[in-house]
């Protein structure tokens, strides 16, 4: 192995009271290389990372814990403060939340220098600009004076990385630094981390997504329930996983997996995919020349597409590309400036609400955050009863049979009937959202980023569920996501959106294999692939 060991942990455990969050984990972070800690939420990977900064918040014990040459087990709070930022620093997940929205980013970056600081004010300013330049922030002087909320997504990520680099640390911990970012931003962060590695720093990358770490990690440790279940050189782990859990994680990565092949071992294998009538008479949903502007800004410009019956159309694009506005027009929540939407051959938008109300039962919607779409006063059973009774009742007892059927259909336990959706896990909530959308037996489901907030393994189970429902009911999907690998796995056809326009559309395999547009090529090149 190349590189000097910067962090060495031997049998590190962290406990909170009587709860042990991390059990006897051992690893080494070396200069010029990247160690990835991979696992689902709650696996203890973040706690592990924070304990390397003395910030776990619990009690850390270890046979040995050496951080940049110092015995971290005996460090005082003051000594820890010396290490933080200057020897080891951290990049957190959400740039919007990890930079104080009330303070200019330049000050946030400068604080790192202040904390260690013998640097005079003027030099600190200079160093802030220098760091911003090193992460290729455009117009660094101006940006330094702005607050994170005023920056674009990309600039925000750069600022976040810059604040971690200000103290010129030897080790950078990236805690879910790429989660929930769209592909361009993910690519940007990964490139930045690669650069850090090349500069000879040690990188500890924390993620739930094996596909993403594949590009960067030299070594991988897979964590589950506070323990490292498998560790080793990246190629070996990815290519020849030994532990069942590692295999499960690998399997959950959707890219390159053909349609209707389960991503999760827990999912029931599907009956043979429906290969019925190859040429449906009409499409389930069609949009013709949809346009929408907000003020001067054109959010969507003449978007046209069709969703064939029983098939899935994937719309992919970065945030701000107009995907969601398109979805809202399709759902009749926003009247288009121009263009029409037809559902099952009938005019759906623009139309008067009372006229299309009957038709609405044919189209359901699933959102990224299902909780927001549930009435917070309703329990699981009440939500489903409400959907089944068309708003006339919320007594689940009256709809016992159909409610049970719906829950079974989305593989939710009947025991959850009286729970409030707030008490459910993310995956369970999304299943509930699906169950509710299925209640009126719709022909089309519009799914707007349905799995973006979920861990890879949970995402896999939800995607499997959607597959199965499509097989069983023949529902057509309009599947919107920024995640190319999800789109690749889920879609029969794909439409690529960029700056409000559909720039390319066609059969999924075709578009992914031979993209015509430059932008599509760019997107695909940034897509992490395992297979």
């Amino acid at each position: 192995m190349n590189g000097q060991a910067l962090i060495t942990a031997r049998n590190l455990s962290v406990s909170f009271g009587s709860t042990v969050a991390v059990k006897n984990v051992s690893f080494t972070v070396r200069a010029g290389s990247c160690l990835a800690l991979v696992g689902e939420s709650g696996s203890g990977k973040s706690v592990t990372a924070r304990s390397l900064l003395g910030l776990s918040g619990g009690t850390a014990t270890a046979d040995a814990l050496e951080v940049c040459g110092q015995d971290a087990l005996s460090l005082s709070e003051r000594s820890w403060q010396q290490i933080r930022g200057s020897s080891v620093s951290m990049i957190l997940q959400d740039a919007l939340m990890a930079l104080d929205p009330l303070r200019p980013v330049g000050r946030e970056i400068g604080d790192a220098l202040k904390a260690h600081g013998k640097l005079p004010r003027a030099e600190r300013q200079q160093r802030v600009i220098q760091v911003l330049e090193s992460v290729r922030m455009p117009e660094p002087e101006r940006r330094a004076r702005q607050r994170s909320t005023e920056l674009s997504g990309g600039m925000r990520q750069r600022a976040l990385i810059a604040q971690a680099l200000a103290g010129n640390p030897q080790v950078v911990i990236a805690d879910e630094a790429t989660t929930a970012l769209d592909s361009a931003l993910t690519a940007l962060v990964l490139a930045q981390l690669r650069e850090l590695k090349e500069q000879g720093r040690g990188v500890l990358m924390i993620s739930h997504d094996l596909a993403q770490v594949a590009h960067l990690a030299d070594d991988i440790a897979v964590m589950r329930q506070g323990e490292i279940v498998e560790a080793g050189v990246a190629a070996q782990i990815l290519g020849n996983p030994q532990h069942e859990y590692t295999r499960q994680l690998l399997r959950a990565v959707p890219s390159g997996v053909p349609r209707f092949v389960p991503l999760s071992a827990a999912s029931r294998p599907l009956a043979a995919p429906m290969q019925k009538d190859p040429a449906p008479a009409s499409s389930a949903l069609s949009a013709n020349g949809l346009s929408k502007s907000f003020g001067k800004h054109a959010a969507v410009e003449s978007a046209s597409f069709e969703v064939p019956r029983g098939k899935t159309l994937g719309i992919v694009g970065e945030s701000g590309s107009g995907k969601t506005t398109t979805a809202r027009m399709v759902l009749g929540l926003q009247p288009p400036d121009a263009g029409t939407v037809e559902l099952l051959g009938e005019r759906f938008a623009p139309a008067h609400e009372p006229q299309r109300r009957k038709l609405r039962e044919q189209m359901g919607a699933i959102y990224q955050n299902p909780l927001g779409s549930f009435d917070p006063r309703y329990s699981v059973g009440q939500l489903l009863a409400d959907a089944l009774s068309r708003g006339k009742s919320k007594r689940a007892a009256e709809y016992r049979v159909p409610v049970t059927e719906l829950l079974e259909q989305v593989e939710l336990s009947l025991g959850l009937l009286d729970r409030n959706p707030r008490e459910l896990s993310g995956g369970q909530r999304q299943r509930l959202a699906i169950a509710r959308a299925l209640a009126p037996k719709p022909s089309v489901l519009v799914l707007d980023e349905p799995v973006s907030a979920l861990d890879a393994s949970i995402q896999a189970t939800v995607l499997d569920l959607l597959d199965r429902i499509q097989v069983e009911t023949g529902t057509s999907y309009l599947f919107i996501s920024h995640d190319l690998s999800v789109i690749e796995h889920m879609s029969d056809n794909v439409a690529v959106m960029h700056q409000g326009k559909i720039i390319e559309q066609g059969a999924t395999a075709q578009v992914f294999a031979a993209p015509q547009q430059e932008y599509t090529k760019l997107l695909l090149s940034a897509m992490p692939r395992l297979r």
Partner: protein, 265 residues
């Protein structure tokens, strides 16, 4: 709201409802019965909370005073809330110009502090419980109204209502099943806070000599009478004061359990 909080809240409300509706169960005596020979008795076994300057039993008076004090709080809050629901809903659902007008009216109401508002009304009507209730109600209305308005506006564009639209629910069902109950829920939390505050402001009016007429055992009036004898008979003001604090603090706790914040703006 946790289970314990729920039980405690219900117990609290039940206790005060019992005290207000059937004070004689807990204090069988006559709150107005004077006995000058027993004036200024310290709390003891015969008089739990002592006696006042006319030898009236303070415990009996505190218990019997609950009805008046709480009624003032409830009436003022009900008035404020009723006005707020109407104004807030109209503002939220109206075209911009009407919304703007209502907002200004609310701001004008808000610009006069509550006690000043009470005094203003009294300047025109003369003192009494009625003006006090109207004043406290009017001055709390803008805070509630703004909340109703912002609640409804937030809810109007919420994913929850969109989801209902997508499910094919008509306007009436959306308003009845989702908009109204969800808009009113945070208000419920505020109501409890408001009752406590209304009781305090009504007490302040009694202090200024503009509240409930004697000899009614209203807490503010008792507290106000007791402060004269603070050096001599601390119990005269302590116990009605505690009753006010107990109700206001209890109401605050319930409000917070229901998800309210301390602010009524």
């Amino acid at each position: 709201m946790s289970r314990t909080a729920k039980i405690l809240s219900i117990a609290f409300i039940a206790l005060w409802a019992l005290i207000a509706l059937a004070p004689s169960v807990l204090a069988p005596g006559d709150p107005l019965a004077v006995n000058p020979a027993e004036a200024f008795q310290a709390p003891g076994t015969t008089h739990f909370f002592g006696t006042d300057e006319s030898g009236r039993d303070i415990y009996t008076r505190v218990i019997h005073g609950a009805r008046d004090s709480l009624a003032i709080g409830l009436a003022a809050t009900a008035l404020g809330m009723g006005l707020a629901i109407v104004l807030g809903t109209v503002a939220a659902l109206s075209p911009r110009w009407l919304d703007e007008i209502i907002l200004r009216v609310l701001e004008a109401l808000y610009a006069i502090p509550s006690l000043l508002m009470a005094l203003l009304i009294i300047a025109f009507t003369g003192p009494g419980v009625g003006p006090a209730i109207v004043a406290v109600g009017l001055s709390t209305a803008p805070g509630y109204a703004r909340l109703v308005r912002s609640q409804i506006r937030t809810l109007k564009s919420s994913e929850m209502l969109e989801a209902a639209t997508v499910l094919g629910r008509g306007t009436w069902l959306r308003v009845r099943n989702h908009l109204v109950p969800n808009a009113l829920k945070p208000l419920l939390a505020l109501v409890t806070l408001g009752i406590g505050q209304a009781v305090i402001w009504a007490a302040a009016l009694s202090f200024l000599g503009l509240g409930t007429p004697p000899p009614a055992p209203e807490w503010g009036a008792m507290l106000s009478a007791g402060r004269t004898y603070l050096h001599l008979a601390w119990w005269m003001s302590l116990f009605p004061g505690l009753a006010i604090v107990f109700v206001a603090a209890g109401a605050t706790l319930i409000g917070r359990a229901l998800g309210g914040k301390a602010r009524t703006t």
